[in-house]
């Protein structure tokens, strides 16, 4: 049995069709997995189920042998962190306050964050090159900067499993690279496991251990990046005949012919 496992996950919104159908996969501890697929293929829905924000209609998820459905919310929050696509903030919290909120599952019932939590929050910002944002108001930040703040919050949560929903979409080249480096380092140093939904196939080939390709709510492929980033498979997943996959220095590279 794999460290993290899903079996036969189903989901539909309201009375609509199933947007996730029978999704089963396993992931070992300390691996980075990318979830790829066309828009509407069910990637984000799958991720939100794993984060506990949507309750699966059918199937189950297990972390380290324990059923997620049976885990109390706070215990689950100490194991799994979720990075959403950054929403617009309403109140002008300082970025550090937002990052500190990630410490919440580790505090006692009436506890406030202490100096140790503050240190961890600042470390988390440092780890992704966003230390300079700590004192800024989140309402004044750009989309990419806000994305880094929610990312830092998830790191401050010190989860064993990190779930990220297109975290690189709003990031510039430097911070995208920084994100990938930070994930790889946390994997190597602390055994972090991460599952990341992305359209950025360039990032996938170089760093990730596994790729889960979704098509129409089902798993189309689940394998090492080299074996998923193949011309024929990608053409089928994205329904785009001009997509090409090749190798540069042994790494998978993907582009689209005009």
């Amino acid at each position: 049995m794999a460290w993290f496992e899903t079996r036969g996950l189903d989901y539909r919104y309201g009375q609509g069709p199933l947007v996730v159908r029978g999704v089963s996969f396993g992931l070992e501890r300390g691996r980075l997995m990318a979830v790829i697929g066309a828009n509407g293929s069910g990637k984000s829905t799958l991720l939100r189920m794993m984060a506990g924000l949507l309750r699966p209609l059918g199937g189950e998820m297990r972390l380290d042998g324990r059923a997620l459905a049976a885990m109390p919310a706070r215990a689950r929050a100490r194991e799994i962190a979720y990075v959403p696509q950054a929403a617009l903030p309403v109140f002008p919290f300082a970025a550090l306050e937002v990052v500190l909120s990630g410490r919440s599952p580790h505090l006692g019932a009436f506890g406030f964050e202490g100096p140790r939590d503050r240190e961890k929050a600042l470390e988390a910002l440092e780890a992704i090159g966003a230390a300079h944002l700590a004192a800024r108001r989140v309402t004044d930040l750009s989309g990419g900067e806000r994305q880094m703040v929610v990312l830092a919050r998830a790191l401050a949560q010190e989860p064993r499993l990190l779930l990220l929903d297109e975290p690189s979409a709003a990031l510039d080249l430097k911070h995208r690279a920084g994100l990938v480096r930070a994930l790889a380092r946390l994997r190597d140093e602390r055994g972090l496991t991460a599952i990341l939904v992305t359209h950025d196939l360039g990032m996938v080939g170089s760093t990730f251990d596994r790729v889960l390709a979704m098509r129409c709510g089902e798993v189309a492929a689940e394998d090492a990046p080299d074996r998923v980033l193949e011309t024929a498979l990608l053409a089928r997943i994205y329904d785009e005949p001009n997509v090409r996959a090749g190798r540069i220095d042994g790494r998978a590279v993907v582009w689209v012919e005009a």
């Binding site: 924000l53 215990a75 979720y82 929403a87 309403v90 919290f93 919440s104 406030f112």
Partner: protein, 354 residues
């Protein structure tokens, strides 16, 4: 030479961007807020007890039975009622702003006070005054009215997981207008005596007689406020990001239900005792935020104390500003809060769609 090299390792001549200071730890902010505001509250209560149509004369209270009666039957109950209601409305405002992620949420603006006033009026008109389990029926009716108003406003503003900020405020306006119209209708059918008492629910006034009512209100209000403060942490996480609060271990449904019920209870009690006093829940939390920062775990308890001080001061002003007569305190808070609401609305439109 220009002296020793500063900022070694930086690009020559380039200063670091000026960065604002980090916010102090939340515990330090909370302690400071509570210390400052408790002093303010003590001062407000002292001023409220001293100032009035006749200034307080301590020697007379001991010697003159009429002066003593006036103090214990009118002045003291009025100040205590003001403090309790101010705490209730301000804490509710802070909680609702976090719950709805809307800085303009306020029990008065959202029609929750109006619903409570209507409930209390209907109880009055029907002559149902017998206590239920020792609780005055007017309290129960005001609680029911507030609960219903809040349910309507929430149901209209909520689509899926998102609360639409504009729809929330519009729903509040309509609930307010409707309960106002319903109260006018009831007022026309009842006898003049009840009609006069109903007018009090509508304008908001703190002219109470005797301490019995104060203890009755405090016995329910204080535990309810303590419970509301207990929810400050989940509300803080929801104010930061409602969508992901659940992934930090917050039971968002339970928090919503509890805060909805507690706010309705607290506002119902406030309205049954002092009528619909406007905008305390807007003015006070915004003042507290401006001084002590955004953390709801600070803003909620601090608003509770600051609200008590604020309403006592506002009522002292209402009692003394005109030499010939006493104003209802609702007139003062409305005149302060209305313009603040409009100013916040204008400022908010700049950075997010309402």
């Amino acid at each position: 030479m220009n002296g020793p090299i500063k900022n070694a390792g930086r690009v020559t001549g380039q200063e670091a961007c000026p960065t604002p200071n980090l916010p102090p730890p939340v515990t330090a902010r909370l302690a400071r807020a509570l210390a400052v505001l408790t002093v303010l509250l003590a001062g407000a209560v002292a001023l409220g007890l001293w100032q009035g149509t006749e200034r307080l004369d301590l020697t007379k209270i001991f010697s003159n039975p009429i002066a003593r009666a006036l103090f214990f039957q009118l002045r003291l109950p009025r100040v205590l009622t003001g403090a309790l209601i101010g705490a209730a409305l301000a804490a509710t405002g802070a909680a609702l702003q976090a719950l709805f992620r809307n800085p303009l949420a306020d029990p008065y603006a959202l029609g929750v006070s109006g619903g409570g006033a209507l409930g209390a009026s209907v109880a009055l008109a029907l002559g149902w005054s017998a206590p239920v389990l020792g609780i005055p029926f007017v309290y129960v009716a005001a609680f029911g009215g507030a609960m219903l108003a809040m349910a309507v406003v929430r149901a209209i503003a909520r689509t899926g997981v998102i609360t639409l900020p504009g729809a929330l405020l519009l729903a509040g306006v309509v609930v307010n207008l409707t309960s106002g119209a319903a109260m006018l209708t009831v007022q026309y059918v009842v006898d003049p005596n009840s009609a006069l008492r109903m007018l009090r629910f509508m304008t908001g006034s703190l002219d109470v007689v005797g301490l019995d009512g104060v203890w009755r209100m405090a016995a329910i209000l204080l535990p309810a406020l303590a419970a509301l403060v207990w929810f400050a942490r989940p509300l803080h996480l929801m104010a930061i990001d409602e969508d992901t609060a659940a992934t930090l271990g917050v039971n968002t449904h339970r928090t919503e239900l509890a805060v909805h019920t507690l706010c309705s209870l607290v506002v119902g009690l406030a309205v049954a005792n002092g009528g619909a006093i406007g905008f305390v829940g807007l003015i006070v939390p915004h003042g507290v935020r401006a001084v002590f920062g955004e953390d709801v775990r600070v803003v909620l308890p601090a608003s509770l104390v600051a609200g008590a001080a604020f309403l006592v001061l506002a009522d002292t002003l209402a009692r003394t500003v005109l030499p010939s007569t006493e104003l209802p305190v609702g007139a003062i808070t409305g005149l302060l809060g209305g313009p603040l609401f409009l100013w916040l609305l204008r400022r908010r439109q700049r950075y997010s769609a309402i």
